[in-house]
Symmetry: D2
Subunit: 379 residues, 4 copies
C-alpha cells in the first residue's frame, strides 16, 4: 500500500480503555498517522491530551463539531475518523462525518435504535463513504479462516452455530453502587438491553460473519440474576438463519471463572469447527468421520484471508490489539482502493445486529415468542 | 462392608455395550458376585452366554420371568437385579422385581411415560426396596464433590447452571438406513423424544443432582438438523429451578468434533465451577474476585463424598466404567445398611427427569412456551 | 476366553494402595477369581483380611511360604500369583513361585540388583512360566496404539524420545521425618537410587516399549534438591537407543504443581506423538508438514492392540485402574493360550530397566560420563 | 512519557520477518517515530523501501555507515537504533553506533564469539549508552510477573528450572538443500552451534531472567538427528546456577507437532510455576500443599511489572508482537529517564548467554563434561 493515511479520533480520552486500542490499531502497522482528535468531553483536557500524544496544536480539537469543521477546511484532512464516544452519541457523530464526506469507523453499538441504524445505512450509502463498525473479533486471522472454510464449502451446508460471550466480571452483588457496573443495567443509560447489547451483540455478529448468513428469527430468554437489576445479566437466544441454520447464543456477566468468554462452534453436514477468543490462534476442526485437527495461524496453506492479517510465524501468538489493528488494515486497503470492499463490518452489519438485540428484548418480554430478527428495511 | 452380595442382570447380552459396563461395575470392587442372569431376548443364547461368564447352569435363565420365579424360590436369592433391557420394557420388569421384593437398578430412561414413572415411584415406596436409576455420571467423585460444595454453600446461592451433552456421532445424513442410528429418531421406537430423552436427560439429572434442586418450569427449542428425522437431534432448553436458579441445557448429536460432550458449569453468588466428563478428575473453581483453581480428585481435604469413591492417588485418572462401579458401591452400602439412603439416583429422579423431557417436547411443539416441568404427583 | 482363572496375591494388605489396584485389576473384567492370598507381614492380620475379602479360610495364608506350599498341594491351585510386597522381597518370592511352576506378576522394581534380575530372567526361562512385571502404564490402550504406530512405520525411523515422570509430592522439606517419604531417599531402605528407581524406571520402560527398542548407553545428572537427602529427588538422563534414537528423560519429586507427571513425546522422520498419563485417552499426532490431530481411544479404525483393551465408547474415559486390569487381560489370554506371548512387560524388561537405573547412578557419580546401560547378560 | 522519540533501523528489509516486528514494536504504542533506516544490503532497494514506509529521502540510507554518519550530523538524530542484520555483522555495527553515542537495540545473538561479547560490554559501559539485546520473550507481562514472584519470594528458594524451546520446523530431511534451513547447520555460516545458539539461547536467557540468577556450570548432550547436519538440531543441557538451582534445558528443531515450543517451569521450596509462550497470558501456579491456580494477565493485583506492559483487559490476549513492543516501552522509559535502568535485556545478558552456548558446545564435544558457563570477564 502506498503512503500513510491521516487518521483522527473522537473520544478515547485519557483513562479510557478503547482509546489506546484504537491508537495502537491505527498505528501498529504504519498505515495511519494519528493527526487529529477531539478526545474528551472536556475540551481543554481533550486538547491537552491529544497534544501529549503528538497531535499538532491546531488539530487538537475541543469537540467533534470543531473537529469536523476544522478537518473539512484542510487540504490534508483526515482520511478516516474513529468514533469512540459514549454509545448514545454514535448516531449523531457518525452521521455528521459521513455527510461531510469522511470515512468513519464507529464503535459498537452503532446506534441505540433500529430507526437510527437504518438512517445510518441510508446516509452511508448516499455518501459513498465507508461506514465501518468495530466488531473487531471478526478480524482475527482464524475467524477469517473459518469464514473462508465455510464459504468454500469445507463443512458442507451449515446446520448449527453455537456461540457464547459469557464472563463473570459483573457477578458481584456488592457492585450495585459501582458506577462502572451500575449503568449497564439501568435502562436510562444503557437502553433496552444490558449484556445482550454489550457482549451478546459481538457473538451475534460473529455467527453471521462466519456463516455468511443472516439471522431471520429468534426466541429469547433473559434473566437478571443479580437482584436489583432492571436489565438482563444473562440471556439465551435461539436463532434461525435465513439459510436454515439453527443458532444457540448464550451471553452472561455472572459466569464467575470465565474471563473473556467469547467462543463459537460451527457445525455443518461435513464437519465442525471450534474457536475461542482467549486462545485465538488455533481452530479445532473435524471432518465427518475424521479426527479433530488443530489449524494454526500461520500454517502453510492457510487461506489468504487469514494469511494477510497475520504478522508473525506459526506458534507465535497474536492477540486482541492486533485484531483491532486488522480492522485498520482492511480500512487502509479499502481507502487506498477507492472503494468500500473488504470483510470489515459495515453499517448494515451494525444495523442487523442491533435489530436482533431489539428483537430479543421483545421476545424475552413475550415469554420467548419467536419474532422476526431483521430490521424493517431489510425484510 | 461385610460379605459379598449376590447380583443378577436382565439384558446386557453378547455384543451389548451396557452389559460389560454393568458386569465390570458390579464386580470391580468385589462387592457383588455375578450369580444370575437372563441376558438375551433369545433364551438359548442368553443361557449359554451367562454360563460362559461363570453363572451356574440353574441360574442362567431364559427370560426375566423365569429368573424372577427362580430367584424368588432360592434361599441365596440375588440381593440386587440390574435391568438393562430395551427402554420400552424397563417399566414392566422393574415393577415386577420390586413387587417381588428385590432391590433394582434400572437403566435410564426408567419408563417411557410419566404415568409409568409415577407408578414405579409408588411401587418402590410401597415395597420398601431400593429402586435406583443408572444416571451414572452423577457418581463420578468430582461430581459428588461439586454437589458437596454447593450443599455446604461454597458458591453461595446458585444463580445459573449451564449444561450440555452434545456429540457428533449421529451427524451423518447417510445413516438414514443405519439401524443403530435410525430407531433413535423414529417415534414408533424411541417415543416422544430423540436426543433429549437419550442424552439431554443425563444433563438434566446432573444439574438437579449437583444443585440439590429440581426443575420447576422450562421452555424448549427442538431442531431436526438432519433431513428426514421426525424427532429432534438438537435441542436447547431453558430452565427455572424451584430455588430460583436459571438453567441452560443444550444437547445435540450433530456437533461433529465433540466426542462425548457432557459438561456442566455452575454459577453462584460467590463462585463458579466447571467440569467435563471427558476429563472427569478435575474441577475448575473460581471464587468471586479470586483466581481459577483446579480441584483434583484425590487431593488432600477433598470432600468425603468424593474421597470414598476414588481408588487411586491424585493425578491417576479414573474413568467412566468406575463411575458405573460407584453406583454399585453406593448400592452395596445401602443394601448392607438395610435402608435406602445414599446419593445414588432413585425412582423419583427417574420420574422427574422423564417428566421434564415430556414437558420439553410439549414446549417445543408450542413455540417455546414456558411449561411446568414437574410430574403431576409432585406438583 | 473360556473359564475363570484362579488368582492369588502376596502382599497388598489392609491400607495398602497397591492391593486394591491389583484386586480390581484381576476381577474387573471377570477373568480371574480371587481365591488365595498371604496379604500381610502379620500372619493373623493377613488371614483375617483375606477372609473379609471372600477368600476361603484354608487359602487365607499367613505368609508366602505357607501359600506356596498350600497352593502347590491343590488340584485347583492358583493360575497366577501377584507379588506386591516390599521391594527388597520381590526377588526371593518371585523366584520361588516360578520355580514351583506358578505364573507370576511381580510389582516393580522386579529386583534390587542387576544380578538378581539376571537370575530371575534365567529362572523364568527355565521354568517356562510367565514372569510379568507391572509396568502398567504400558497397558493403556493409547500407549499400545502408539507402539503399533511406531511398529508399522507411521513415524518413519525414530529419532528422538522425550519422557518425564515428574511430580511434586515430595517437595516439602518438612517431610524429613515423615516415614512415608523418608525411606525413599535412604540408601539403606531404597537401595542405590531414589526417584529414578521409583518413577523414572516407568518412563524408561515406556520409552523402550513404545519404540520397540532398547537403551544402549546413557549419561545422567542427579540432584538432591531437598537438603538432607542422600538419594536423588531429581534426575535428567540422556539416552541412546540401540537403533540410534536419542532419548531425554526427566524425573522429579519436587515439581510442585505437577500431579502424576508421566508423559512422553516420540519424534520420527515422518511424524511426532505426544501423550500424557493424566489424560490417557488421547494421543496428539502430527505428520511431517501436516496438522496436529487428536487420536481418540475408541475411535473407528484404532489399532487392534488398542481396541482390545478398551471397554467403553469414544469420549468415555478409562483410567489407571483399568490399565492395571489390562495387564491382567493380557495375562489371562497368555495363560489360556498356553504360551507366554503378549505385550505385557516381562522379566527381561524388568531386568533391562533396573540395569539402566544402576547405570544412571554410576554415570551421575562419574560427572555424567556415558556408560553402557545394558545388563551384562544382554550385552 | 513526554514526546515521541526518533528511531531508526539497520536491516529488516523487504521480505524479512524481523523488520516488521521491530517496526510494529517501535510504533505500536506511539513512543517512537520511524525516521531513519538502512534497510537492505542492496543500497538502492534499502533506500526505496525505507521511503515507501514513510522515511524521508535524506534519512533513507544506503548502508549503516552512511546512516551513522548522517544521523551523527543531525540535530534531530535518532534516539535509538535497532540492529537487525545478519548475525555475523551485529558486533561491528553495534559497536560503532555505541561508540558514536547512540542507544542500540541489537538482535540476538549479540555477537558470534565470547570475546566480541566482552568487547561490547566494555564499549557499552564506557559509552554510557543503552545496549539492549532483543530477548523479547522476557518482556511478556506474565514473564515479568513470574520474575516478580520469584524476586519477592513467593516460591521460596528456587531449586529447579526446566525450560524448553523445541519445535519441529526443521525436521524434514529433504530440506538439505533448502537455503532457509541449510545455513543453520553449516558451521561456516552459523558458527559453533545450530539450534542451541538459535533458540536454546532464548530459553537460557529466560531462565536466568526469571530466576534473577546466572548459570555457573553446565553439561551438554548434542545430537544431529537429521543425517548430514554438522551442527546440532537437538540438545539437552543440564545447568547449575550460581545460587545453587538446578536447570534442565531442552531445545530441538525436529519435534514434529510442536509449533513454537518455548516453555518454562520454575520450582522452589514453596511453590511452582509453569508458562508456555503459545498461551502467554496465563501462568499456572501452585503453592506447596495447595491447588494449581491460573494467574491471568490483567487480573486485579497483578505485579506492577506485568501491569505496565499490558494494554487490554483480562481474558483479552496479547501476543508476540506486543512482547517486542514491550522492549521498546522499556527503552523509551530508559531513554526518557536518562539512565539505563529497566528490566530489558542488556549487553551483559547477551554476553552471558553466548558464553553459555559456547560452553555447551565444548561440553557436548567432551562427552558431557561439566564446564564453566561464564564468560572469562565475569568469573
Amino acid at each position: 500500500m502506498a503512503g500513510k493515511l491521516n487518521w483522527g479520533i473522537v473520544g478515547g480520552g485519557e483513562g479510557s480503555q478503547i482509546g489506546p486500542a484504537h491508537r495502537l490499531g491505527a498505528q501498529a502497522d504504519g498505515h495511519f498517522a494519528f493527526v487529529a482528535g477531539a478526545l474528551d468531553a472536556d475540551p481543554e483536557k481533550g486538547r491537552a491530551y491529544a497534544q501529549s500524544l503528538g497531535v499538532a496544536e491546531d488539530r487538537a480539537y475541543g469537540d467533534w463539531r470543531e473537529m469536523l469543521a476544522g478537518e473539512q477546511a484542510r487540504e490534508d484532512r483526515i482520511d478516516l475518523v474513529t468514533v469512540a464516544t459514549p454509545n448514545a452519541t454514535h448516531f449523531e457523530i457518525t452521521k455528521a462525518f459521513l455527510e461531510a464526506g469522511f470515512h468513519v469507523l464507529c464503535e459498537k453499538p452503532m446506534t441505540m435504535t433500529v430507526e437510527e441504524g437504518e438512517e445510518i445505512v441510508r446516509v452511508a450509502e448516499k455518501s459513498g463513504r465507508i461506514c465501518a463498525v468495530n466488531y473487531c473479533y471478526s478480524a482475527y486471522p482464524m475467524v477469517r479462516h473459518m469464514r473462508a472454510m465455510v464459504a468454500r464449502g469445507d463443512l458442507g451446508k451449515i446446520r448449527l452455530v453455537v456461540a457464547s460471550f459469557s464472563h463473570g466480571h459483573h457477578a458481584d452483588a456488592r457492585d450495585q453502587d459501582n458506577p462502572r457496573v451500575r449503568w449497564r443495567y439501568d435502562p436510562a443509560q444503557a437502553g433496552v438491553s444490558g449484556q445482550m447489547a454489550d457482549c451478546g451483540i459481538h457473538a451475534l455478529h460473529l455467527a453471521s460473519f462466519i456463516l455468511g448468513d443472516e439471522v431471520a428469527r429468534l426466541s429469547a430468554d433473559f434473566a437478571s440474576c443479580v437482584p436489583g437489576r432492571e436489565l438482563e445479566d444473562d440471556a439465551m437466544v435461539n436463532l434461525r438463519f435465513e439459510g436454515g441454520a439453527v443458532g444457540r447464543l448464550w451471553t452472561s456477566t455472572i459466569a464467575i471463572g470465565r474471563q473473556h468468554g467469547l467462543d463459537i462452534q460451527i457445525y455443518g453436514e461435513e464437519g465442525g469447527l471450534r474457536w475461542a477468543q482467549e486462545q485465538p490462534n488455533q481452530v479445532y476442526h473435524q471432518t465427518l468421520g475424521g479426527r479433530t485437527e488443530i489449524i494454526e495461524k500461520g500454517e502453510a496453506g492457510i487461506s489468504e484471508d487469514a494469511a494477510r492479517l497475520s504478522r508473525v510465524v506459526i506458534g507465535s501468538p497474536e492477540g486482541f490489539p492486533l485484531a483491532v489493528a486488522n480492522i485498520y488494515v482492511d480500512l487502509a486497503q479499502a481507502i487506498h482502493g477507492g472503494g468500500a470492499d473488504g470483510l470489515y463490518p459495515k453499517a448494515v452489519d451494525g444495523l442487523r445486529s442491533m435489530a436482533a438485540v431489539h428483537a430479543a428484548v421483545g421476545s424475552a418480554k413475550d415469554g420467548g415468542a419467536w419474532v422476526d430478527a431483521r430490521p424493517p428495511m431489510l425484510r
